[in-house]
Assembly symmetry: C2
Homo-oligomer: 123 residues x 2
């Protein structure tokens, strides 16, 4: 699901948005494109330091919507490619993926793992 | 409310996220930082071509949450600055601001105007 174009976007720096929602309120947090790793299972691994609102939402509704883009990648109508990913969220606090992420991002407290359900190139 | 650091972020290209929500569902769309204009009233003007989900949400709940960032701007803990803006949304389809935006972005159908209520530097 996570194709080469998406990986190309992630290889360009940018602010990636993470939207969660529950109880008729939405919360948005961010990470940098360069902080995202793709696991062998095809999930996105994202370092989480704060993300307390996201985690509280996920406890009620584990769906997330992510967006990311780069004007430096060729998109569908010229320069500028963007992606929308909807998926389910889990927070990891141990295991192999947690340890690998912790080594790369010592500041993290947990790892947000997103299993993609919908991946859409938006531009 | 829209300070110089925020303007500096907007002057660096990136994908800006726009989250709307209603009926226990959230929708996220994007624009490029370079597409945002700041009106004399201190509102954000954003070209809208599609944005049908956003507009449907706004008809029920006119709150929006925007995020934007650039790794090339000095932030609070090093390189990388990001902002969160919560505000109210209106869609313009005529008037001086609409005409100015239409001149700059001929592809737009409406202009999304966001009146900021909360502006927070997140990093």
């Amino acid at each position: 699901m996570l194709n080469e174009k998406l990986k190309e976007v992630l290889n360009h720096e940018g602010a990636l948005s993470i939207t969660s929602w529950s109880n008729n309120n939405a919360n948005v947090t961010n990470t940098w494109n360069s902080y995202v790793r793709i696991s062998d299972r095809g999930t996105l691994l994202i370092p989480a330091a704060g993300m307390t609102s996201t985690q509280a939402d996920v406890a009620v509704n584990n769906r997330l919507k992510l967006t990311m883009g780069s004007k430096e990648v060729m998109g569908t109508i010229g320069m500028g490619a963007g992606f929308f990913i909807e998926g389910t969220a889990t927070f990891l606090d141990d295991g192999e993926d947690f340890n690998m992420m912790k080594e790369n991002f010592p500041f993290l407290k947990r790892v947000l793992e997103v299993t993609p359900i919908i991946v859409k190139q938006t531009i």
